[in-house]
Amino acid sequence: MLRLSNLRLERGAKPILQALTWQVAAGQVWGVLGANGAGKSSLLQALVGLLPVAGGAIEWLGRPLQHWHPRERAGRLCFLAQDQIADLPIRLRDWLLLSRYPHQGRWGRESAADRAVVDAVMQRAHLSHLADKWTSQLSGGERQRMALAGVLVQQAPWMILDEPTNHLDLHHQMTLLPQLIEASHSGGGALIMSLHDVNLAEQFCSHCLLLLADGQTLAGPVAEVLTAESISRIYRYPIEVITGPMGRVFVPQR
């Protein structure tokens, strides 16, 4: 269980979130929706302890988040940042191997088991043929697949993902998201991801947290929270809901 009580966030002197009280239980899949600059990334970074909070508290698995040892935390809670790039040369396979760090001892070296995990994940994420490429040679979509594969390699069931579908083509959106959700479920964790595509949230999420333009928030099960009215309010653009045989579809008006 991840509990936020009266969380206040600031970036520089600019307030981002006023008083967010929010609970995420194991097994849930949360989508975080908001306009550009609404504070999605800041909130997600705070959930992993990467951004100091200006007020309120975050409690995870019965302990205040800041009381966790960083490495112990990283063994069970992973974070996907936007645009992870390596500026110095490293090959894809080695880049992925770095995700095993939380599971190695202080002076640990990567074991054969660590390498086996990397190989298995590369297979599932269709990256095996790129294993020996330099990361600088990869396309934007390939890089994002590598980053998502890093999440799977880390094997931490609590997942905080900042725009996991960035740069991904349709095929990989539809195949990788279920893999991540399945990995989180089978490990007994929960998944929280920021998304720009309302329809992906409708398809894959059980719950949604909406960051509205005026600093207010709206949280709850997808069926209740995602409405034409709430989505129009987020993006300040009229949205229509069409209900078809596959479920609801959100379409911007023209």
Binding site: V48, P70, A74, A81, D87, P89
Partner: protein, 328 residues
């Protein structure tokens, strides 16, 4: 195919031994292997005096200085996440040069030069930290740009001393600026510093690997990024300060050594950091010996030679795939 770590260390150690043997034998008085061997065991013989009084101190200074520069370069590149970062980039060498030249210009004598330049390097580090306002939070971009600006400021000060100085002093100033090991003593202090820095770097190396993925990702994976960053900064600047106090303003070793290893597929900092120390030592011993020989009896500053092989090598590196170039 990446090279295996034990093979790499064996090759580099062998290269260092050979380079040192060459440096002992070659010079205005060439010594054969037998004469070197004799001289080593009979310090009072003519060869012994030559070896123990002149060549060994200079050789050790070159090895130590090369190791320090290579390590400083590798650490700077990690710290600033910039492949073009070198030991001089944060203005540390420029600060050291300015103070050293001021001492020469004021006629304080060359004996205290290592001390002055070390003090200058420390002052430059403090200045960069102060001006980059790191208390409000570390931003690699801001630190980098502040360093570049501080270096430019010291550069103006250096030009000022050069224009004011008499011909006699100008010569020693220019040698110092280009990097020179001809007056080097047995580098006890710098060697201890290098040992300490290398030990710390090896302890940090596991965490440094994660820094390759960016500070946010490293932190998310459980690395205490703030602490690692301070250690990287202090070690990189400390190594630069010691190297500058030994050999003046030597360029390119800090770029060439780590990047050559990366080109051979060495990405793991646990191997790269110690290996680039060895490679830096090999390169500078070779360059310094060549500098003694090329125009003998005239000695050219070794910095001219490191630039001469550093420039083409770096240009070649930039064309490689690993750095975004198209060549295989």
């Amino acid at each position: 195919m990446p090279i295996k770590a034990p093979v790499l260390f064996l090759l580099l150690s062998l290269a260092l031994l050979l380079a040192m043997a060459w440096a002992l034998g070659a010079g205005s008085i060439a010594l054969s292997w037998a004469e070197i061997w004799q001289g080593l065991w009979q310090p009072q013989s003519p060869q012994g005096l030559l070896i123990w009084q002149l060549r060994i101190p200079r050789l050790l200074a070159a090895a130590c200085c090369g190791g320090l520069l290579a390590l400083a370069g590798a650490l700077m590149q990690l710290l600033l996440r910039n492949p073009l970062a070198d030991p001089a980039i944060l203005g540390v060498s420029a600060g050291a040069s300015f103070v050293a030249l001021s001492a020469l210009g004021l006629g304080l004598g060359a004996a205290g030069l290592p001390l002055y330049s070390f003090a200058g390097a420390l002052a430059a580090i403090a200045l960069v930290l102060l001006l980059a306002d790191v208390r409000r939070g570390w931003q690699a971009q801001r630190v980098l740009l502040t360093g570049v600006v501080v270096a430019a400021g010291f550069g103006a000060g250096i030009s000022f001393w050069l224009t004011l100085s008499s011909d006699l002093r100008l010569h020693s100033m220019l040698f110092w600026l280009m990097g020179d090991l001809s007056d080097a003593d047995v580098p006890v202090g710098p060697a201890v510093g290098l040992g300490f820095a290398l030990l710390c770097a090896c302890l940090l190396a596991g965490a440094c690997n994660l820094m390759l993925r960016g500070e946010l990702a490293a932190q998310a994976l459980g690395v205490p990024v703030a602490a690692v960053r301070w250690w990287l900064f202090l070690l990189a600047c400390g190594c630069t300060a010691l190297a500058v106090s030994l050999g003046g303003n030597l360029g390119f070793i800090g770029l060439v050594a780590p990047h050559s290893l990366r080109l051979f597929g060495v990405w793991d900092q646990r191997i790269l950091l110690p290996a680039c120390c060895l490679l830096g030592a090999v390169l500078l011993v070779l360059a310094d010996t060549a500098a003694r020989l090329l125009l003998a009896p005239v000695q050219i500053p070794v910095g001219v030679l490191t630039a001469a092989f550093g420039v083409p090598l770096l240009l070649y590196l930039l064309r490689q795939q690993a750095y975004g170039g198209r060549d295989a």
